[in-house]
Symmetry: C2
Subunit: 200 residues, 2 copies
């Protein structure tokens, strides 16, 4: 049985639950606390030396970290991963954009504001993170104003990767009302067969 | 002819030059200034809405940004991209690690220290970036103490992605003397056929 080292508050972990559910792949969840040091404990560092969830353990004991690498692993040779080399590169383009421009801003602001509570230590970096998050949303809005999905005209793991933290961006205080194309895309993603919520 | 929107000081752009050189794919370079706003100008935003180099323009005018997505595009079906789905996912795992944990720390510190010069505005964030860079190097050292290359026992685009900023980390003040496995791996990468230097 596949094991997912998971976190209920992590959008990165939700990506994996969402894809596995839509693919009908059974898995067991091990909930990790990402704030109390559990993911940095020696026992977990043997599973992921980088100390992060999500990480999956395959039936043979092989472990694989990094949410978007896990998405690729399960999506390959399914409709969630497109056929042509250019489309595959474009899926990766958006997934790298997500990890470099989107997650470190939108997800981090949500974590600071909604989970840790605003602290004096994080306050100086907050305005820059908020501005960076809006820049990422601007890039998405521009693309989604011309395309129903990120790549290949259909729902792929690029959409899953970007949906995870965009649909909860308001929890960090981001105002999506000025992003009509993003809002329409969020609704299209939520209407996909087998969709589950982050709280499921 | 393939066009690379390039930057001589960018390790991300160097990744692409290195792979293209090793594959023997001809390309022309357009040097962009990443500090004077050129990459945020309207003319360049039509090439990459996210305003970053490297970006490639294929012969048919299609543009593709994100260094690691570009590496995938050219490496697919070559020895630089391994055969099995698990090995491919592991290459992506290390490339996502590079963009999330390694580039935003090691590359940013190098840029601040060696190119922009230390400024009052960046100074508060510097110690955290330096500490994050050493954490990324620790993860690499642990892996390279047991493996000659990151994935599949041979040189792949995972090595190219991580070599780019690791081999110039000293320019940001990082001390690699306590990382013998990384230093041996740097030498193995530099000895690959067709290797070029970042300054070539």
């Amino acid at each position: 049985m596949l094991t997912l080292y998971d976190s209920a508050i992590s959008g990165n972990a939700y990506k994996v639950r969402l894809l596995l559910s839509q693919l009908g792949i059974p898995f067991r969840r091990i909930e990790m606390n990402v704030d109390d040091g559990s993911t940095r404990a020696e026992t977990f560092l043997k599973i992921n030396r980088n100390g992060r969830v999500p990480t999956v353990m395959l039936a043979d004991g092989t472990t694989l970290p990094e949410s978007n690498a896990i998405l690729f692993y399960f999506a390959d040779r399914t409709p969630f991963w497109p056929e042509t080399r250019l489309q595959q590169a474009q899926v990766l383009q958006w997934m790298f954009f997500e990890q470099y421009n989107h997650e470190p801003t939108i997800a981090v602001v949500r974590h600071w504001v909604a989970h840790l509570g605003r602290t004096e230590a994080n306050e100086p970096a907050l305005p820059g993170k908020v501005a960076g998050g809006y820049r990422a949303l601007d890039v998405m809005e521009d693309h989604l104003g011309r395309h129903d999905y990120f790549v290949a005209g259909r729902y792929t793991i690029a959409d899953i990767a970007l949906y995870a933290y965009t649909h909860v961006a308001h929890e960090g205080g981001f105002d999506l009302s000025r992003y009509p194309a993003i809002k329409a895309w969020l609704a299209r993603v939520a209407a996909q067969p087998g969709h589950i919520r982050i709280t499921d």
